[in-house]
């Protein structure tokens, strides 16, 4: 394992969260920010990328399954999320900075023969890293995400999406009222009672106060709605680059997903015609909470086809 990281003691997660997330926390300083990540197992690396407002906890049920298959799992928290640093200014954040942070993280870990598994904002960031260094990547897995400049109907609508993060409204709803954690997650899973019992405390723990929640409202503003919006040029570059990319791919999608509806899965299939899938699983936007076993089954079968991991 190539390591150039600052490994420190895990932060004091409450026991009920640590019990569900029993992995060693590691930290690496990336572009000046302290990034938290999990690094478990030995073998070809699998990079698990979360979105807004979650953190690597989202993959707690993936990690042991993938490790048991003879693979190495790396799950970082994007800067601004989970146990990673929380820069204080909105103007510090851009899609390009997030991509650069992840690219530097991958470079410093020296990852090769990498499989990138991504959902939500893990998509534009992780897929961009695959495009930037295709020689290091042997597979990509896309779930409930996007990689083009055009918004979905959900993202174009005033109610509720654009109203949520509108000027002045956004800081109130996202930061003072923490709506994405307190309500948005709940509305975006299928198995809601299980989510409340098992997962909500961990997401709540990571967003304890106004300042810690800044990125939950900044990320929505980075989704381009018009061709001249910030991020639009990068998303155009990403889509065009993916069109030319021949890396093996797998598409897994939530049957109940409304943020990135079924058309987005089909658009990925058009963009990556060689991809396996889409495979439809029970799941709303945060499908990792709803169908971890089934999704891991698809991922491990895909990886075995690429020559990685043990057959169960």
């Amino acid at each position: 394992m190539t390591m150039s990281a600052d490994s420190t003691l895990a932060p004091e997660l409450p026991p009920e969260i640590r019990r569900r997330f029993p992995f060693s926390s590691r930290f690496m300083r990336v572009n000046g920010h302290r990034m938290h990540y999990i690094d478990e197992g030995v073998g070809d690396p699998v990079l698990l990328l979360h979105g807004n407002p979650t953190w690597s906890f989202l993959y707690r049920k993936f990690i042991p399954r993938i490790v048991a298959a003879g693979l190495r799992v790396i799950a970082p928290d994007h800067i601004g999320f989970g146990l990673s640093d929380r820069p204080a200014r909105e103007h510090d954040f851009s899609l390009e900075n997030h991509i650069a942070n992840l690219a530097e993280f991958i470079r410093r870990l020296g990852l090769q023969r990498l499989t990138v598994v991504c959902q939500d904002w893990g998509g534009p960031t992780g897929l961009a890293c695959a495009v930037l260094n295709p020689a290091a990547v042997k597979g990509i897995v896309v779930m409930n995400t996007w990689a083009w400049p055009e918004p979905t109907a959900f993202h174009s609508a005033i109610f509720p999406w654009r109203m949520m993060h509108a000027p002045v409204v956004g800081p109130y709803l996202f930061q003072r009222r923490n709506i994405l954690v307190e309500r948005g997650l709940y509305l975006s899973v299928v198995h809601r009672e299980r989510f409340l019992a098992e997962a909500l405390p961990a997401y709540r723990f990571a967003m304890p106060d106004y300042d810690s929640r800044l990125l939950t409202r900044v990320f929505p503003r980075l989704i381009p709605l018009r061709s001249d919006d910030r991020s639009a040029a990068t998303m155009r570059w990403l889509e065009q680059s993916l069109r030319d990319m021949k890396i093996p791919a797998l598409i897994v999608w939530g049957k109940e997903e409304i943020v990135f509806p079924a058309e987005c899965a089909q658009r990925f299939k058009t963009l990556l015609p060689h991809a396996k899938g889409p495979f439809w699983v029970t799941g709303s936007h945060f499908l990792q909470e709803d169908s971890p076993e089934e999704i891991c089954g698809h991922i491990l079968e895909f990886l075995r086809d690429q020559g990685g991991g043990r057959r169960a």
């Binding site: 109203m163 956004g170 009222r177 503003r221």
Partner: protein
Amino acid sequence: MSIEVISPIDIRAQNARRVFVMAEERLGHYAGFREALIIAFGLTPAHADGGPPGYFRTASGREYEVTFISRSGYRFPSGLEIQALVPGFDPVDAEAIDEDIWRFLEWLIPRVGGEWTLEALKATGKVYKIPWA
């Protein structure tokens, strides 16, 4: 009227301290919000160069200061900060402040107008369990 824009001489809170409520760094993210605030608070270019903040009072009687921010490369105001004017050393009632700011949003959104409607704000608030929506 649930929100009353007031001048500095109308402030009732005596010996008030300023308590940070929230900040908006990108007023121009969607068109219309910046213009609505310019009209509502009577902002002029002079406000970008040491002019006074804005103030408002809610139906509860609590008062707030609005600091308008200028940033190179962006039209004024590019952002704002809202501070509660809390008398003396009184404790902060965060829930009461949250209700006041919700009322401020209900006052602001119709002033933005167009596709930004009070109905859409209230519907969003209801979905996300804002108690006053």
